[in-house]
Symmetry: C2
Subunit: 149 residues, 2 copies
Amino acid sequence: MEDHPFDPRESLVFLTIRVGKLLANHLHKQERMEGQEFPPHCMGVLVDLWTRDGIRQQDLAVSTIKDKASITRALDVLEKHNIALRIPDPNDKRTKRIYLTHKGRQLKYDLMPLADQAVAEAVQGIPEKEVATCKRVLHRMYENMNKKL
Amino acid sequence: MEDHPFDPRESLVFLTIRVGKLLANHLHKQERMEGQEFPPHCMGVLVDLWTRDGIRQQDLAVSTIKDKASITRALDVLEKHNIALRIPDPNDKRTKRIYLTHKGRQLKYDLMPLADQAVAEAVQGIPEKEVATCKRVLHRMYENMNKKL
DNA sequence: CCCGTTTGGTTTCAAGTGCAACCAAATGAG
DNA sequence: CTCATTTGGTTGCACTTGAAACCAAACGGG
């Protein structure tokens, strides 16, 4: 059994979990201040729909790292707000494909600046090159751990 | 208003949030398989107690990025399992200082290997040097966003 | 075909979370 | 000293979540 003389808070696991939480909280608060009419938990789903329009609910669950039940509920909200639509797949009556409405596509231009600003504040004073490396590493970690994709 | 031609999923915000979630899920599952008797949400609190024994609840809330109400409830569980103790501060009757029991300190040696293993799987195939940079960047982001510390 | 199995999605239930209201102790200006 | 304010912690509430049970459609070997 390996010894652990270092500070456990320095572990990549806990650092990532905590920074993720800080960023999520930050975003939620900004969205609330902007008076967004849909609840914060829909954000993650939206992000994927912006680039994967027409995706199945199941695949949304995998890429957003949520339970498929959570996707069901998020889509209920997004449909109610006319942001996304569930369209039954003609080839398989079980599956529904999710499409953004015009409003849903436009939201990208309201919300991405918030994300950009959150990043900007978070990486203040950190060399741009290192931030780029961090991003690349996180992307590969995401792929490593989400092989189901 | 800036344009956003790139994939929003590549934004540092969403990458970090998602990798954090993947890691958290992974840990929770491993803990459950190991038959840990305390619920997963106590992990974050434990991590800080390992290096900041005697800390106040309020400060725990800040460093673990949880509500102080959540800390109250996590400590109820940890006390019930004889992992931590609430000791009233002699100088200020309002505050309680949290101390680990022997069992609580020992848990580090059961749980840190799980965290190590999670990291190992996540960073497979990524140059060690880049992982180190990523860690350093995340640490600075943590400090940038949690100035209350 | 036919029926057991798998897959996509919804519903239900038991946590866990943050916010707000609250209580008790400490602080501090007048 | 006194009372309004602040601070540390707990409790109640509304909301989100994942797990499991469930239903309907598709698949697939016999």
